[in-house]
């Protein structure tokens, strides 16, 4: 699958606009292009295929109903859709009392390696959109533990104290790391840094 091609934001926007007009064919194309990526994401959060499938289904039902209110000038299409998937996944976890298994590494191994040592595993080689590559570069510039703390919070809906517990760190440390990491990411993404 060539992400650079299928996840072209302009194309996704066109399909979203089609879905807003209740064009079922455009909606199907949108699903075909994005479902594997969104499913992989839901699976990463939830850990169980059945739950991830339920969330993917709910998410696309929501995408269909809300496509009309999607404002293309505000958020990138993938941002909008992944936010829906993430919220639905966290809702399901809260609703069902299912505890998602949290392993230490919030990202898949290939990404972890590339973020850890971009010289050995080039970020370019990963199947990522332009935005995700930029974020990967900036995250690779963070210290390993800081990166892990940010990733844990993002993928598992954890509070500062839950991250602290998970990582066996003082909560003050976690708060500081997260604040600094977010500041660094913002500055790095603004500059378009390539560490």
């Amino acid at each position: 699958m060539s992400d650079a091609h299928t996840l072209d934001p302009q194309q996704l926007r066109t399909w979203l606009n089609g879905a807003a007009l209740h064009d079922a064919a455009a909606f199907r194309s949108l699903y075909d292009a994005t479902s594997a990526k969104l499913f992989g994401f839901a699976l990463r959060i939830l850990g169980k295929r059945e739950l991830a499938e339920e969330v993917l289904q709910e998410s696309f039902v929501a995408i269909w109903h809300n496509a009309g209110s999607y404002q293309s000038h505000l958020a990138a299409p993938m941002t909008w859709m992944t936010t829906i998937v993430r919220n639905k996944a966290f809702d399901l976890l809260r609703r069902s009392d299912v505890a998602a298994e949290i392993d230490g590494d919030p990202f898949d191994a290939a990404i972890m390696n590339a973020l850890h040592d971009p010289a050995a595993t080039p970020i370019e080689a990963l199947e990522l959109s332009r935005d995700a590559k930029a974020l990967a570069y900036c995250m690779s510039a963070l210290e390993g533990l800081h990166r892990q703390v940010v990733g844990l919070a993002f993928f598992h809906d954890l509070s500062h104290s839950e991250v602290a517990q998970q990582m066996a760190l003082p909560i003050g440390t976690v708060k500081t790391w997260i604040r600094r990491s977010l500041e660094k990411l913002k500055a790095c993404l603004a500059k378009g840094d390539r560490p």
């Binding site: 269909w64 919070a153 997260i178």
Partner: protein, 230 residues
């Protein structure tokens, strides 16, 4: 606490709101601020654009086919032509209205064709403005269906008119292609006059007829319903 004038705090809260570490009462308060603060909503969207690509740090996994089937079912998208089926009820409703017109016409035609083949079905098909565009007569004994255009219905040279019987359930059935003026004789089978036929419709199709065997692909120009004469 007023956060409007505290730019660093707004930035920090927006970032943690998106990351998810802002929880409980603090998150609910922030939700409240978002309501009447467009600039704050803008900050949140910027942070979503920054952090959401982290979602792609997971490997793509193909979901099973039944996921799409479930979405299709829940949204009632149906295979293809949802638009056609959705508007079916509207046509049926209109069909009732044109039935009365057709009944009048039956008397006129019926009295004039005593010596002619047995016409036992009549239908008038009307356009969107309820103007009669076609008159259909059916002769079940001779299995003949005659379609007469009232006036001209100009059709582009690369298009053609196609006549359909729309059943109460299932796919529309093609009865044949029409000329854009004069009269066309078609075979009249049970597919055209069965009890389950709710409506007759004419669609505008590419030359040679609808490429989809299960129904029209173009717009519906005329519609009407059978009236049984005898």
């Amino acid at each position: 606490m007023n956060i409007r004038d505290n730019a660093p705090l707004r930035e920090k809260l927006a970032a943690e709101y998106v990351l998810g570490t802002l929880k409980g009462g603090a998150r609910r308060r922030f939700d409240g601020y978002l309501h009447n603060d467009a600039a704050l909503r803008r900050l949140v969207i910027e942070w979503q654009d920054r952090l959401a690509p982290m979602a792609e740090f997971s490997t793509a996994v193909q979901p099973r086919k039944q996921v799409w089937a479930g979405i299709e079912r829940r949204l009632n998208l149906g295979p293809a032509r949802a638009g056609w089926l959705e508007s079916l009820n509207f046509w049926r409703w209109l069909g009732v209205a044109s039935t009365a017109m057709a009944a009048l016409l039956v008397i006129v035609i019926g009295t004039r064709v005593l010596d002619q083949p047995q016409l036992d079905y009549v239908a008038t098909l009307t356009d969107a403005k309820s103007q009669t565009a076609l008159v259909l007569t059916g002769d079940t004994q001779h299995k003949a269906l005659t379609v007469r255009l009232v006036g001209n219905a100009p059709v582009a040279s690369d298009k053609t008119l196609q006549l359909w019987a729309v059943p109460k359930q299932g796919n529309p059935r093609s009865l044949g292609l029409l000329a854009d003026k004069g009269e066309v004789k078609l075979a009249l089978g049970s597919n055209a006059i069965g009890d389950d036929v709710a409506l007759l419709a004419v669609s505008l199709e590419p030359k040679g007829g609808s490429p989809d065997p299960n129904g029209p692909t173009g717009p519906i120009l005329y519609k009407g319903a059978w009236v049984r004469v005898m």
